[in-house]
């Protein structure tokens, strides 16, 4: 494997530091929300991971289009990397949301439009990896994966707009005035600092993990090529 580039090493360290600062801002710096108490603090990581995950799914759909046009496997590796990291982040989003819902809504889960679309999105991308596992031919796997990720990419904007389009109890914290929402709150200045810092920190963490995952994809490709060369 090629040695890690210096820029990636710097990014690794920056990601760890930003995660630590973001945790401090969320747990200590931001004031306690008076109605919900400390559980509201999961909101900072919930939004941070959700934002990057949905962005990653949309990026993957864009990489799919580029792959289908170019037929270059490099774009397939980018697509897989974006989806894998997004899948992990979105899992964190759903788990944190569920933990927040227990004291706020008195239930771990409800089939609200936002929660349903989020669960469907997560399952779509779990199935994406199952689909890829079932195909041996790299070109065929990449082509099927690209078409699937392109169609699956539609679930990301649907999930994002679900709370703005449908009647839902999920709060719309940014730019939303939903009278049906339960558990919404107005952010103070300190809360906004923690919130925007979490968005920034998770964006950097996403880029870092994405880059590391691309390198892993390149290595997987190298192993596959070597195996093919030896078997011939």
């Amino acid at each position: 494997m090629q040695p890690k580039p210096v820029a990636l090493k710097v990014l690794d360290v920056a990601a760890i530091i930003l995660l630590a600062i973001s945790t401090y801002l969320a747990l200590v710096f931001a004031p306690k929300e008076l109605v919900m108490g400390d559980v509201q603090r999961v909101f900072y990581f919930h939004i941070g991971t959700a934002w990057t995950a949905l962005l990653g799914f949309i990026l993957a759909a864009i990489f799919s289009v580029v792959y289908l046009v170019n037929k270059d496997l490099k774009w397939d590796r980018l697509q897989v990397a974006a989806i894998e990291v997004s899948l992990i982040f979105f899992l964190i989003t759903i788990v944190l949301g569920s933990i927040w819902a227990r004291p706020a809504w008195n239930t771990w889960w409800t089939w609200d439009p936002r929660l349903t679309t989020a669960a469907v999105t997560e399952l779509i991308y779990v199935a994406y990896f199952m689909l890829r596992q079932g195909i041996d031919d790299p070109d065929r796997r990449a082509r099927f994966g690209a078409v699937y990720a392109l169609i699956g990419g539609l679930s990301a904007p649907i999930t994002f707009f679900a709370i703005r389009l449908f009647r839902t109890i999920h709060p719309v914290v940014i730019g939303g005035t939903n009278p049906e929402a339960d558990g919404g709150f107005s952010m103070t200045a300190d809360m906004r600092v923690a919130f925007f810092f979490a968005l920034f920190a998770f964006t950097v963490i996403f880029i870092d993990l994405f880059w590391n995952r691309i390198r892993l994809g390149n290595l997987q490709d190298k192993v596959e090529q070597l195996k093919l060369k030896i078997s011939m």
């Binding site: 945790t23 747990l27 400390d38 559980v39 603090r41 999961v42 788990v95 004291p103 008195n106 339960d182």
Partner: protein, 88 residues
Amino acid sequence: MFFQETTPDTSGYMIAGYAIAFIVMALYVASLYLRARNLNQDVTMLEEMDKPAPPVQTNPARQARKSQTKSAGNKTVKPVTKKTRKNY
């Protein structure tokens, strides 16, 4: 919950949330590391297998002796056919 006057103690949920978030991220980073390590081992092994085999080193004295004995008893060996098989 929202009609009560005092702030409820929901710190347990908060701790559980952050613990799960960190555990999931740590597991993912560990999986990236382990997969990269295994693939590196595979690359090293496959590159070894892919190298051309080195030429066989022969002892020149032994080689000369071998060629002498070969020339001394240089008999042509007839292939076994239906005709020659009778003699056996």
